[in-house]
Symmetry: C2
Subunit: 368 residues, 2 copies
């Protein structure tokens, strides 16, 4: 097991990465603040791992009141209406402000459970047990929680840090390959935005990663979490550097919003978004064509899309990008690449360049 620490003063917490952590209640019990525990999961994950987690906790500490709440699966259900199910359960069970929520699932479960914890009785303890690669390397770390609104992704939420993150690599064995690839998209992101050495390591090890090699995945998760922890420790509330973690996300959110949440996996949309960000960086003269091809090559090697969905249009991209949370007073702000391994937040004014970039991407039928 590897352990990292996210240093946020009195809100600091540990991130443990390793195999079979789900069955080690000794990792979890010290972080419980009371005797009431609600495990939130979804219809996909619960049949696989809920019993294992729930019974290991109950056996280790028989006086715990362990309840469960199973949500429908998928980004389409990341809504206020689903959130209310968690709150209803907590209130119906009489859970108090010392209760602990445990998120057992992917990013959607983690984001909603965290937001539910942030608002229940003005904030209670919660623990992240991410079960997808994507959530292990990204959303479970850093305290961003929230739900979608029909007019925009993650528009409602809170910064609310977990007290523990357990990334169990064993659970990745049952992850569909499409979801594994979506997680690798976010791993590639850390290389592109700030760590060229890691990008090269990923290029060299992609074949093993997409096959689900446990040791390679553990290493990739640890390096990704360390990158994220460093950035979040420096800028918890996204006043500056943390925005770089949104590389590819402005385009990606536009795809997710237009397509309806859940049609494209988040990681797939981000992969395509990173390609667009790289190509737009090239049009600014920051990347060479060869570098964009290198970005394309590693994304394709991870079985990720680099071309937007056919249903998208230039207009739909621009509409959704206009309401991105990073924008200030109508000014579009994008994360672009000064060079491979170095991202930058840009107040973007060159609309014709952006339009060309999107239009060409929509019509392209082959690699560059």
């Amino acid at each position: 097991m590897q352990s990292l620490n996210l240093d946020l003063g009195e809100r600091s917490y540990s991130i443990h990465i390793g195999s079979n952590l789900l069955s080690q209640p000794s990792l979890i019990l010290p972080l419980l603040t009371g005797k009431q525990v609600l495990i939130v999961s979804n219809t996909q994950v619960a049949p696989l791992y809920l019993e294992q987690l729930s019974s290991s906790l109950s056996q280790a500490k028989p006086d715990l009141n362990v309840q469960t709440c199973i949500l429908p699966d998928g980004e389409a259900y990341k809504t206020l209406a689903t959130l209310e199910k968690i709150w209803d359960k907590l209130l119906n069970e009489g859970f108090n402000r010392k209760a602990t929520l445990i998120a057992l699932g992917g990013g959607v479960v983690g984001d909603m459970t965290g937001f539910a914890a942030a608002c229940y009785q003005r904030g209670i303890n919660f623990i992240q047990i991410p079960t997808t690669l994507l959530s292990q390397v990204d959303s479970s770390v850093g305290g961003k929680t929230g739900v979608n609104h029909p007019l925009g992704k993650n528009m409602l939420g809170a910064f609310w840090q977990p007290s523990l993150v357990l990334a169990d690599t064993q659970v990745l064995k049952t992850l569909p390959s499409r979801e594994l690839a979506a997680g690798i998209a976010e791993i590639i992101k850390y290389g592109l935005l700030g760590d060229l050495v890691f990008l090269e390591w990923l290029e060299n090890n992609m074949a093993g990663l997409i096959k689900g090699d446990s040791q390679l995945l553990a290493e990739a998760i640890a390096r990704s979490c360390q990158s994220k922890a460093d950035i979040v420790a420096e800028d918890e509330r996204e006043g500056g550097k943390r925005a770089l973690l949104n590389l590819g996300h402005t385009f990606g959110h536009a795809i997710e919003t237009e397509m309806g949440y859940g049609q494209w996996l988040h990681g797939e949309a981000v992969a395509c978004g990173m390609w667009l960000a790289a190509d737009l960086s090239r049009r600014l003269g920051w990347l060479t064509l060869a570098e964009v091809e290198r970005v394309e090559k590693i994304l394709l090697a991870a079985n990720l899309p680099v071309k937007p969905p056919e249903e998208m249009t230039l207009a739909s991209f621009l509409k959704h990008m206009a309401v991105d949370k990073k924008n200030i007073d109508g000014q579009l702000r994008l994360i672009l690449l000064k060079q491979l391994g170095q991202a930058e937040l840009v107040e973007f004014n060159k609309l014709p360049l952006l339009e060309e970039c999107i239009t060409d991407a929509l019509t392209k039928t082959h690699s560059l």
Copy 2:
């Protein structure tokens, strides 16, 4: 104008108390974080003061985008559904994370606007302009925000501090006398829980206060806000001392929840709750009968109820008190009075005493 400061490090803010502050945009403009402002008010307050506030801001700074959102009036609408109207408006107007929300109204408007600000794009700036006495002396200060759930009052919310509180005593001129009295209940609370000298001052000046004497009210508001600011600065997230501000509230919330929100005003329910807390303290041997009579006398002098509503039963009190946010692992916790001017958080185990206290109150037909 009197100005107090609530000292919370980088989240510190000013509380200004005085006449006609609504028409002084110079107090507000320095606290805006961007050019987008949404004033949230209700159908009761908006016709009286919205235009005055909105136009004074627009005139002072013409490039502001000032929008308004009018909510239905009353505690019955302090719900997630109403909250969504604020978020819908923000998203439909394309408001970004530099936008500012201004709450113009009583405690319901303030609590909901604050919670809307806490969750919109994971937290934006907000300003409190309380227009009821109750919200001026209590809910606008200290950053408790939230909405009710059918199973409990303020069960969903956040700690989210405003960047400014403006208590304009001029607006109290149009406040119905029942609401003025409800505000005085919370003022009396500060005397009872921690300031015997202030309690005596209130006893001496109650006749003028209930007539709406501006100077007396300004003094009472300032002393109340100072008490609250001192307590909140010491214990922002209610780990300890802040709970004392809940004197009378456990009983009061039970009344509000059982009666349906809005039948009894919050201050009325708290008044009755403070009487019950005083009487229960007497049954513990902490107060004398004469002291409970003194509590009863000042509440009656302020035209406040000291007897629970006829619709309540012992069972309904106990049911609602069992889900109070202060309770931990089923342990009832109450704020009681060690003596007049000194409240204490008590883990309360003497159920028969509590049952007698409530039963006697329900059946009493006259003063003690």
